[in-house]
Protein backbone atom coordinates (compact mmCIF):
# COMPACT_ATOMS: atom_id res chain seq x y z
CA UNK A 1 0.00 0.00 0.00
CA UNK A 2 2.75 2.43 1.01
CA UNK A 3 4.83 1.43 -1.99
CA UNK A 4 1.86 2.08 -4.28
CA UNK A 5 1.51 5.61 -2.91
CA UNK A 6 5.24 6.15 -3.23
CA UNK A 7 5.11 4.94 -6.83
CA UNK A 8 2.22 7.28 -7.56
CA UNK A 9 4.22 10.24 -6.22
CA UNK A 10 7.28 9.26 -8.22
CA UNK A 11 5.25 9.02 -11.42
CA UNK A 12 3.55 12.34 -10.62
CA UNK A 13 6.95 14.04 -10.55
CA UNK A 14 7.49 12.89 -14.12
CA UNK A 15 4.81 15.37 -15.22
CA UNK A 16 7.30 18.17 -14.61
CA UNK A 17 10.22 16.57 -16.40
CA UNK A 18 11.35 17.54 -19.84
CA UNK A 19 10.06 15.00 -22.37
CA UNK A 20 12.80 13.00 -24.02
CA UNK A 21 10.95 13.03 -27.33
CA UNK A 22 12.62 15.03 -30.11
CA UNK A 23 9.90 16.40 -32.41
CA UNK A 24 11.72 15.21 -35.50
CA UNK A 25 11.16 17.31 -38.60
CA UNK A 26 11.37 20.57 -36.64
CA UNK A 27 14.22 19.54 -34.40
CA UNK A 28 16.77 16.88 -35.17
CA UNK A 29 18.41 14.50 -32.79
CA UNK A 30 22.22 14.43 -32.54
CA UNK A 31 23.68 11.72 -34.74
CA UNK A 32 27.26 10.64 -34.05
CA UNK A 33 29.74 11.02 -36.95
CA UNK A 34 30.35 7.28 -37.21
CA UNK A 35 26.62 6.55 -37.48
CA UNK A 36 25.83 4.09 -40.29
CA UNK A 37 23.66 5.86 -42.85
CA UNK A 38 23.81 6.66 -46.56
CA UNK A 39 26.86 5.15 -48.28
CA UNK A 40 29.25 7.39 -50.22
CA UNK A 41 32.39 6.90 -52.34
CA UNK A 42 35.16 9.28 -51.28
CA UNK A 43 38.17 10.78 -53.03
CA UNK A 44 41.81 10.97 -51.94
CA UNK A 45 43.58 14.29 -51.12
CA UNK A 46 44.50 14.75 -54.79
CA UNK A 47 40.85 14.55 -55.77
CA UNK A 48 41.10 11.19 -57.48
CA UNK A 49 38.76 8.33 -56.78
CA UNK A 50 39.85 6.12 -53.90
CA UNK A 51 38.01 3.06 -55.12
CA UNK A 52 40.27 0.53 -56.79
CA UNK A 53 37.50 -1.84 -57.85
CA UNK A 54 38.61 -4.78 -55.70
CA UNK A 55 35.04 -6.10 -55.24
CA UNK A 56 35.66 -6.68 -51.51
CA UNK A 57 32.65 -4.56 -50.57
CA UNK A 58 30.43 -6.48 -52.97
CA UNK A 59 31.70 -9.75 -51.51
CA UNK A 60 31.26 -8.60 -47.91
CA UNK A 61 27.75 -7.31 -48.50
CA UNK A 62 25.34 -9.78 -46.85
CA UNK A 63 22.37 -8.69 -48.97
CA UNK A 64 24.23 -8.31 -52.28
CA UNK A 65 23.20 -4.72 -52.77
CA UNK A 66 26.56 -3.53 -54.15
CA UNK A 67 27.58 -4.22 -57.71
CA UNK A 68 30.42 -2.69 -59.72
CA UNK A 69 32.61 -3.24 -62.75
CA UNK A 70 36.35 -2.63 -62.38
CA UNK A 71 38.45 -1.33 -65.23
CA UNK A 72 41.96 0.11 -65.71
CA UNK A 73 43.04 3.53 -66.78
CA UNK A 74 45.94 4.21 -69.19
CA UNK A 75 48.46 3.97 -66.31
CA UNK A 76 47.27 0.58 -65.24
CA UNK A 77 45.47 1.79 -62.14
CA UNK A 78 42.13 0.19 -61.35
CA UNK A 79 38.93 2.12 -60.90
CA UNK A 80 35.24 1.21 -61.09
CA UNK A 81 33.68 1.68 -64.50
CA UNK A 82 30.31 1.79 -62.82
CA UNK A 83 29.31 1.41 -59.22
CA UNK A 84 25.78 0.72 -58.11
CA UNK A 85 24.22 0.40 -54.64
CA UNK A 86 20.62 -0.68 -54.29
CA UNK A 87 19.51 1.09 -51.12
CA UNK A 88 16.18 -0.70 -51.07
CA UNK A 89 18.21 -3.78 -50.19
CA UNK A 90 20.95 -2.20 -48.11
CA UNK A 91 20.71 -2.97 -44.38
CA UNK A 92 23.36 -0.41 -43.39
CA UNK A 93 25.50 -3.00 -41.62
CA UNK A 94 28.76 -1.25 -42.52
CA UNK A 95 30.54 -4.46 -43.62
CA UNK A 96 31.47 -2.82 -46.94
CA UNK A 97 33.18 -0.01 -45.07
CA UNK A 98 35.13 -2.51 -42.97
CA UNK A 99 36.10 -4.55 -46.02
CA UNK A 100 37.34 -1.59 -48.06
CA UNK A 101 41.17 -1.53 -48.18
CA UNK A 102 41.32 2.05 -49.44
CA UNK A 103 38.76 3.86 -47.24
CA UNK A 104 36.83 4.56 -50.44
CA UNK A 105 33.39 3.37 -49.38
CA UNK A 106 32.11 5.05 -46.23
CA UNK A 107 28.85 5.33 -44.33
CA UNK A 108 27.59 8.79 -43.38
CA UNK A 109 25.14 10.05 -40.73
CA UNK A 110 22.49 10.85 -43.37
CA UNK A 111 19.34 8.76 -43.17
CA UNK A 112 16.81 10.96 -44.95
CA UNK A 113 16.71 9.18 -48.28
CA UNK A 114 13.02 8.38 -48.75
CA UNK A 115 11.69 8.06 -52.28
CA UNK A 116 8.22 7.72 -53.72
CA UNK A 117 9.53 5.37 -56.39
CA UNK A 118 11.48 2.32 -55.36
CA UNK A 119 13.65 2.55 -58.46
CA UNK A 120 15.05 5.85 -57.25
CA UNK A 121 16.73 4.02 -54.39
CA UNK A 122 19.25 2.51 -56.82
CA UNK A 123 22.20 4.89 -56.58
CA UNK A 124 24.65 5.06 -59.48
CA UNK A 125 28.29 6.10 -59.25
CA UNK A 126 27.50 9.76 -59.90
CA UNK A 127 25.09 9.72 -56.93
CA UNK A 128 27.55 7.96 -54.65
CA UNK A 129 30.79 9.79 -55.46
CA UNK A 130 31.41 12.85 -53.28
CA UNK A 131 34.09 15.50 -53.78
CA UNK A 132 35.52 15.21 -50.24
CA UNK A 133 37.61 12.70 -48.32
CA UNK A 134 35.00 11.63 -45.79
CA UNK A 135 36.13 10.43 -42.39
CA UNK A 136 39.77 9.70 -43.23
CA UNK A 137 41.31 12.98 -44.24
CA UNK A 138 44.78 12.89 -45.84
CA UNK A 139 44.85 9.18 -46.61
CA UNK A 140 46.04 8.26 -50.10
CA UNK A 141 46.07 4.59 -50.94
CA UNK A 142 48.43 4.91 -53.89
CA UNK A 143 51.15 6.41 -51.64
CA UNK A 144 51.18 3.20 -49.58
CA UNK A 145 50.55 0.40 -52.06
CA UNK A 146 49.27 -0.40 -55.48
CA UNK A 147 50.60 0.11 -58.98
CA UNK A 148 53.59 2.50 -59.13
CA UNK A 149 53.25 4.80 -62.09
CA UNK A 150 56.44 6.71 -61.29
CA UNK A 151 54.78 9.96 -60.26
CA UNK A 152 55.72 9.68 -56.60
CA UNK A 153 57.51 7.50 -54.11
CA UNK A 154 55.81 5.18 -51.66
CA UNK A 155 55.65 6.46 -48.09
CA UNK A 156 56.01 3.41 -45.86
CA UNK A 157 56.28 0.46 -48.14
CA UNK A 158 58.79 -2.15 -46.98
CA UNK A 159 60.55 -4.52 -49.40
CA UNK A 160 58.68 -7.81 -49.83
CA UNK A 161 59.37 -10.43 -47.16
CA UNK A 162 61.39 -13.43 -48.24
CA UNK A 163 59.01 -16.16 -47.09
CA UNK A 164 61.73 -18.79 -47.20
CA UNK A 165 63.52 -16.92 -44.38
CA UNK A 166 60.96 -18.15 -41.95
CA UNK A 167 61.54 -21.81 -42.67
CA UNK A 168 63.40 -23.78 -40.02
Amino acid sequence: MLSAIKAMWQIFLHLFRKPVTVPYPERKAYIPPRWRGRIVLTRDPEGAERCVGCYLCAVACPVDCISLQATEDENGRRYPEWFRINFSRCIFCGFCEEACPTYAIQLTPDFEMCEYDRKNLVYEKKDLLISGQGKYVGYNFWKHAGVDIGDDGKIDQKPPVDVRDLLP
Binding site: A7, F12, H14, L15
Partner: protein, 318 residues
Protein backbone atom coordinates in the same frame (compact mmCIF):
# COMPACT_ATOMS: atom_id res chain seq x y z
CA UNK B 1 -39.97 28.25 -21.70
CA UNK B 2 -41.94 25.39 -20.20
CA UNK B 3 -40.19 23.12 -17.69
CA UNK B 4 -40.53 20.13 -20.01
CA UNK B 5 -38.83 21.95 -22.86
CA UNK B 6 -36.14 23.20 -20.49
CA UNK B 7 -35.48 19.62 -19.36
CA UNK B 8 -35.23 18.55 -22.99
CA UNK B 9 -32.72 21.29 -23.77
CA UNK B 10 -30.66 20.41 -20.72
CA UNK B 11 -30.86 16.71 -21.58
CA UNK B 12 -29.59 17.21 -25.12
CA UNK B 13 -26.93 19.58 -23.82
CA UNK B 14 -25.74 17.03 -21.24
CA UNK B 15 -25.66 14.24 -23.84
CA UNK B 16 -23.66 16.40 -26.25
CA UNK B 17 -21.29 17.61 -23.54
CA UNK B 18 -20.67 14.13 -22.15
CA UNK B 19 -20.12 12.56 -25.57
CA UNK B 20 -17.74 15.42 -26.25
CA UNK B 21 -16.01 14.80 -22.94
CA UNK B 22 -15.69 11.10 -23.73
CA UNK B 23 -14.12 11.97 -27.08
CA UNK B 24 -11.87 14.50 -25.43
CA UNK B 25 -10.79 11.79 -23.03
CA UNK B 26 -8.92 10.16 -25.92
CA UNK B 27 -6.74 13.24 -26.15
CA UNK B 28 -6.50 13.86 -22.40
CA UNK B 29 -5.56 10.28 -21.65
CA UNK B 30 -2.97 9.93 -24.40
CA UNK B 31 -1.34 13.29 -23.67
CA UNK B 32 -1.28 12.81 -19.90
CA UNK B 33 -0.05 9.24 -20.15
CA UNK B 34 2.69 10.40 -22.48
CA UNK B 35 3.76 13.12 -20.05
CA UNK B 36 3.84 10.61 -17.19
CA UNK B 37 6.16 8.51 -19.34
CA UNK B 38 8.38 11.47 -20.37
CA UNK B 39 6.96 11.49 -23.88
CA UNK B 40 5.01 14.16 -25.78
CA UNK B 41 1.95 12.24 -26.96
CA UNK B 42 -0.13 13.10 -30.02
CA UNK B 43 0.79 16.65 -31.04
CA UNK B 44 0.45 16.69 -34.82
CA UNK B 45 -3.27 16.91 -35.61
CA UNK B 46 -4.33 20.47 -34.90
CA UNK B 47 -2.87 22.71 -32.19
CA UNK B 48 -1.34 20.55 -29.43
CA UNK B 49 -2.90 17.54 -31.14
CA UNK B 50 -6.35 18.63 -30.01
CA UNK B 51 -7.97 17.35 -33.21
CA UNK B 52 -6.56 13.84 -32.62
CA UNK B 53 -9.94 12.45 -31.40
CA UNK B 54 -11.60 13.66 -34.61
CA UNK B 55 -8.93 11.96 -36.68
CA UNK B 56 -9.44 8.80 -34.61
CA UNK B 57 -13.20 8.90 -35.17
CA UNK B 58 -12.77 9.36 -38.92
CA UNK B 59 -10.39 6.41 -38.90
CA UNK B 60 -12.86 4.25 -36.97
CA UNK B 61 -15.68 5.17 -39.36
CA UNK B 62 -13.68 4.12 -42.38
CA UNK B 63 -12.69 0.75 -40.91
CA UNK B 64 -14.38 -2.38 -42.15
CA UNK B 65 -17.43 -3.28 -40.07
CA UNK B 66 -16.98 -7.01 -39.82
CA UNK B 67 -19.27 -9.54 -38.19
CA UNK B 68 -17.54 -12.88 -37.75
CA UNK B 69 -19.42 -15.77 -39.39
CA UNK B 70 -19.30 -17.78 -36.16
CA UNK B 71 -20.92 -15.04 -34.10
CA UNK B 72 -24.48 -14.92 -32.81
CA UNK B 73 -25.47 -12.18 -35.24
CA UNK B 74 -28.40 -10.52 -33.51
CA UNK B 75 -26.84 -10.33 -30.06
CA UNK B 76 -23.50 -9.40 -31.57
CA UNK B 77 -25.05 -6.29 -33.11
CA UNK B 78 -27.24 -5.43 -30.13
CA UNK B 79 -24.49 -5.65 -27.47
CA UNK B 80 -22.53 -2.54 -28.55
CA UNK B 81 -25.78 -0.66 -29.09
CA UNK B 82 -26.80 -1.44 -25.52
CA UNK B 83 -23.47 -0.51 -23.98
CA UNK B 84 -23.83 3.27 -24.21
CA UNK B 85 -27.44 3.41 -23.09
CA UNK B 86 -27.14 2.78 -19.32
CA UNK B 87 -24.11 5.04 -19.02
CA UNK B 88 -25.84 7.89 -20.81
CA UNK B 89 -28.99 7.33 -18.75
CA UNK B 90 -26.99 7.47 -15.53
CA UNK B 91 -25.95 11.00 -16.44
CA UNK B 92 -29.61 12.00 -16.20
CA UNK B 93 -29.55 12.11 -12.41
CA UNK B 94 -26.28 13.98 -12.00
CA UNK B 95 -26.75 17.55 -10.81
CA UNK B 96 -24.06 19.61 -12.51
CA UNK B 97 -25.31 22.74 -10.78
CA UNK B 98 -28.51 23.66 -8.97
CA UNK B 99 -30.14 24.35 -12.35
CA UNK B 100 -28.30 22.12 -14.79
CA UNK B 101 -29.75 18.72 -14.07
CA UNK B 102 -31.96 16.59 -16.25
CA UNK B 103 -33.85 14.74 -13.55
CA UNK B 104 -34.13 15.48 -9.85
CA UNK B 105 -35.19 11.95 -8.99
CA UNK B 106 -35.51 11.21 -5.29
CA UNK B 107 -33.87 7.82 -5.85
CA UNK B 108 -31.02 9.27 -7.92
CA UNK B 109 -28.26 7.27 -6.31
CA UNK B 110 -30.22 4.04 -6.63
CA UNK B 111 -30.85 4.83 -10.28
CA UNK B 112 -27.11 5.34 -10.82
CA UNK B 113 -26.34 1.97 -9.20
CA UNK B 114 -29.01 0.27 -11.29
CA UNK B 115 -27.68 1.74 -14.50
CA UNK B 116 -24.07 0.79 -13.83
CA UNK B 117 -25.26 -2.76 -13.09
CA UNK B 118 -27.20 -2.84 -16.35
CA UNK B 119 -23.97 -2.00 -18.15
CA UNK B 120 -22.72 -5.50 -17.31
CA UNK B 121 -25.30 -6.98 -19.69
CA UNK B 122 -23.76 -5.57 -22.83
CA UNK B 123 -20.30 -6.72 -21.80
CA UNK B 124 -21.45 -10.26 -21.06
CA UNK B 125 -23.59 -10.38 -24.20
CA UNK B 126 -20.68 -9.16 -26.29
CA UNK B 127 -18.44 -11.81 -24.79
CA UNK B 128 -21.04 -14.52 -25.33
CA UNK B 129 -22.18 -13.64 -28.83
CA UNK B 130 -18.65 -13.29 -30.23
CA UNK B 131 -18.33 -17.06 -29.85
CA UNK B 132 -14.59 -16.88 -29.29
CA UNK B 133 -12.72 -18.05 -26.22
CA UNK B 134 -11.04 -14.71 -25.52
CA UNK B 135 -14.32 -12.83 -25.71
CA UNK B 136 -16.10 -15.32 -23.51
CA UNK B 137 -13.40 -15.31 -20.84
CA UNK B 138 -13.36 -11.51 -20.96
CA UNK B 139 -17.13 -11.31 -20.62
CA UNK B 140 -17.20 -13.75 -17.71
CA UNK B 141 -14.40 -11.92 -15.95
CA UNK B 142 -16.20 -8.63 -16.46
CA UNK B 143 -19.39 -10.02 -14.96
CA UNK B 144 -17.60 -11.40 -11.91
CA UNK B 145 -15.58 -8.23 -11.44
CA UNK B 146 -18.42 -5.74 -11.85
CA UNK B 147 -20.76 -7.64 -9.52
CA UNK B 148 -18.02 -8.00 -6.87
CA UNK B 149 -17.17 -4.32 -6.88
CA UNK B 150 -20.76 -3.14 -6.99
CA UNK B 151 -21.17 -4.16 -3.35
CA UNK B 152 -18.32 -2.21 -1.71
CA UNK B 153 -19.24 0.71 -3.96
CA UNK B 154 -22.85 0.66 -2.83
CA UNK B 155 -21.77 0.37 0.82
CA UNK B 156 -19.40 3.31 0.41
CA UNK B 157 -22.29 5.28 -1.06
CA UNK B 158 -24.53 4.18 1.79
CA UNK B 159 -22.24 5.82 4.33
CA UNK B 160 -22.64 9.09 2.43
CA UNK B 161 -26.39 8.64 2.27
CA UNK B 162 -26.30 8.07 6.02
CA UNK B 163 -24.81 11.54 6.51
CA UNK B 164 -26.96 13.33 3.97
CA UNK B 165 -30.16 11.49 4.83
CA UNK B 166 -31.29 11.41 1.20
CA UNK B 167 -30.77 9.46 -2.01
CA UNK B 168 -31.46 12.60 -4.05
CA UNK B 169 -28.09 13.71 -5.42
CA UNK B 170 -28.97 17.41 -5.21
CA UNK B 171 -29.73 16.99 -1.50
CA UNK B 172 -26.41 15.26 -0.98
CA UNK B 173 -24.60 18.18 -2.62
CA UNK B 174 -26.58 20.73 -0.62
CA UNK B 175 -25.62 18.90 2.58
CA UNK B 176 -21.96 19.55 1.75
CA UNK B 177 -22.11 23.35 1.56
CA UNK B 178 -19.84 23.76 4.60
CA UNK B 179 -17.71 20.59 4.67
CA UNK B 180 -17.18 18.07 1.88
CA UNK B 181 -17.92 14.46 2.74
CA UNK B 182 -14.39 13.43 1.83
CA UNK B 183 -13.46 14.92 5.24
CA UNK B 184 -16.01 12.83 7.15
CA UNK B 185 -15.72 9.72 5.00
CA UNK B 186 -12.15 9.38 3.73
CA UNK B 187 -12.29 5.59 3.93
CA UNK B 188 -15.53 5.47 1.97
CA UNK B 189 -14.00 7.80 -0.62
CA UNK B 190 -10.99 5.53 -1.14
CA UNK B 191 -13.24 2.48 -1.39
CA UNK B 192 -15.52 4.27 -3.81
CA UNK B 193 -12.64 5.31 -6.05
CA UNK B 194 -11.12 1.81 -6.07
CA UNK B 195 -14.50 0.28 -6.87
CA UNK B 196 -14.97 3.01 -9.46
CA UNK B 197 -11.79 1.96 -11.24
CA UNK B 198 -13.18 -1.58 -11.32
CA UNK B 199 -16.56 -0.35 -12.57
CA UNK B 200 -14.92 1.54 -15.40
CA UNK B 201 -12.68 -1.48 -16.12
CA UNK B 202 -9.62 0.73 -15.84
CA UNK B 203 -6.06 -0.39 -15.60
CA UNK B 204 -5.43 -1.99 -12.24
CA UNK B 205 -8.75 -3.76 -12.86
CA UNK B 206 -8.74 -4.18 -16.63
CA UNK B 207 -8.69 -7.97 -16.63
CA UNK B 208 -11.90 -8.20 -18.74
CA UNK B 209 -9.87 -6.79 -21.63
CA UNK B 210 -6.37 -7.71 -20.50
CA UNK B 211 -4.58 -7.30 -23.80
CA UNK B 212 -1.54 -9.37 -22.82
CA UNK B 213 -3.62 -12.47 -22.14
CA UNK B 214 -7.03 -12.03 -23.80
CA UNK B 215 -6.17 -10.03 -26.95
CA UNK B 216 -8.88 -7.45 -26.15
CA UNK B 217 -11.27 -9.43 -23.96
CA UNK B 218 -14.97 -9.07 -24.64
CA UNK B 219 -14.50 -6.76 -27.66
CA UNK B 220 -11.88 -8.88 -29.41
CA UNK B 221 -14.15 -9.63 -32.38
CA UNK B 222 -15.52 -6.12 -32.75
CA UNK B 223 -14.32 -3.63 -35.31
CA UNK B 224 -15.16 -0.20 -36.68
CA UNK B 225 -17.93 1.75 -34.91
CA UNK B 226 -19.04 -1.25 -32.88
CA UNK B 227 -15.62 -1.25 -31.26
CA UNK B 228 -15.81 2.54 -30.98
CA UNK B 229 -19.02 2.24 -28.96
CA UNK B 230 -17.31 0.02 -26.39
CA UNK B 231 -14.40 2.42 -26.37
CA UNK B 232 -16.75 5.35 -25.90
CA UNK B 233 -18.66 3.60 -23.10
CA UNK B 234 -15.42 2.99 -21.25
CA UNK B 235 -14.46 6.65 -21.39
CA UNK B 236 -18.02 7.67 -20.50
CA UNK B 237 -17.75 5.36 -17.50
CA UNK B 238 -14.69 7.27 -16.35
CA UNK B 239 -16.50 10.59 -16.73
CA UNK B 240 -19.55 9.17 -14.93
CA UNK B 241 -17.59 7.78 -11.98
CA UNK B 242 -15.72 11.08 -11.72
CA UNK B 243 -18.99 13.01 -11.71
CA UNK B 244 -20.54 10.76 -9.05
CA UNK B 245 -17.40 10.97 -6.91
CA UNK B 246 -17.61 14.76 -7.22
CA UNK B 247 -21.25 14.75 -6.15
CA UNK B 248 -20.85 12.32 -3.25
CA UNK B 249 -17.50 13.25 -1.76
CA UNK B 250 -16.12 16.45 -3.25
CA UNK B 251 -19.04 18.75 -2.59
CA UNK B 252 -20.50 18.88 -6.10
CA UNK B 253 -20.84 22.45 -7.31
CA UNK B 254 -20.07 23.97 -3.90
CA UNK B 255 -17.06 26.24 -3.72
CA UNK B 256 -16.20 29.87 -3.14
CA UNK B 257 -15.81 32.54 -5.79
CA UNK B 258 -16.08 30.80 -9.13
CA UNK B 259 -19.40 29.89 -10.76
CA UNK B 260 -20.80 26.50 -9.64
CA UNK B 261 -20.39 24.78 -13.02
CA UNK B 262 -16.68 25.64 -13.03
CA UNK B 263 -16.30 24.09 -9.60
CA UNK B 264 -18.13 20.96 -10.66
CA UNK B 265 -16.20 20.48 -13.89
CA UNK B 266 -12.94 21.29 -12.13
CA UNK B 267 -13.47 18.63 -9.49
CA UNK B 268 -14.54 16.19 -12.18
CA UNK B 269 -11.36 17.01 -14.08
CA UNK B 270 -9.25 16.26 -11.02
CA UNK B 271 -10.95 12.88 -10.69
CA UNK B 272 -10.37 12.12 -14.38
CA UNK B 273 -6.72 13.09 -13.88
CA UNK B 274 -6.52 10.58 -11.02
CA UNK B 275 -7.93 7.90 -13.34
CA UNK B 276 -5.17 8.50 -15.88
CA UNK B 277 -2.56 8.90 -13.17
CA UNK B 278 -3.36 5.53 -11.60
CA UNK B 279 -3.32 3.95 -15.04
CA UNK B 280 0.25 5.13 -15.56
CA UNK B 281 1.40 3.71 -12.22
CA UNK B 282 -0.36 0.42 -11.57
CA UNK B 283 0.13 -2.99 -13.15
CA UNK B 284 -2.86 -5.25 -13.74
CA UNK B 285 -4.24 -7.40 -10.92
CA UNK B 286 -4.34 -11.14 -11.24
CA UNK B 287 -7.87 -12.53 -11.21
CA UNK B 288 -7.66 -14.09 -7.74
CA UNK B 289 -6.02 -10.94 -6.35
CA UNK B 290 -8.86 -8.92 -7.81
CA UNK B 291 -11.50 -11.08 -6.13
CA UNK B 292 -9.57 -11.19 -2.85
CA UNK B 293 -9.28 -7.39 -2.81
CA UNK B 294 -13.00 -7.00 -3.22
CA UNK B 295 -14.35 -9.72 -0.93
CA UNK B 296 -11.64 -9.98 1.73
CA UNK B 297 -10.59 -6.35 2.02
CA UNK B 298 -13.00 -3.80 0.57
CA UNK B 299 -16.22 -5.47 1.69
CA UNK B 300 -15.27 -5.86 5.41
CA UNK B 301 -13.77 -2.38 5.52
CA UNK B 302 -16.79 -0.78 3.91
CA UNK B 303 -19.15 -2.67 6.24
CA UNK B 304 -17.10 -1.59 9.24
CA UNK B 305 -17.01 1.96 7.95
CA UNK B 306 -20.78 1.98 7.55
CA UNK B 307 -21.22 0.56 11.05
CA UNK B 308 -18.90 3.11 12.69
CA UNK B 309 -20.31 6.07 10.82
CA UNK B 310 -23.81 4.90 11.69
CA UNK B 311 -22.93 4.69 15.36
CA UNK B 312 -21.25 8.10 15.31
CA UNK B 313 -24.16 9.65 13.47
CA UNK B 314 -26.55 8.17 16.02
CA UNK B 315 -24.45 9.44 18.92
CA UNK B 316 -24.10 12.97 17.48
CA UNK B 317 -27.73 13.39 16.44
CA UNK B 318 -29.02 11.69 19.55
Amino acid sequence: MTPALWTLVIGIGVIAAMLGAATGMIWIERRLLARFQDRLGPNRVGPLGLLQPIADIIKLFTKEDWTPPFADRLVFVIAPAVVLLPVMLAFAVIPFTDFIKVSDANVGLLFFLGMTSLGIYSVVLAGWSSNSKYSLIGGMRAAAQLISYEIPMALAMASVVLLAGSLRLADIVNAQTSVWYIVFQPVAFVIFVIAGFAEARRIPFDIPEAESELVAGYHTEYSSMKFALFFMAEYLDIVLISAIATVLFLGGWNGPGLPPIVWFLGKMGVMIFVFVWVRSVMPRFRFDQLMALSWKLLLPISLLNLLVSGAVALAVRG
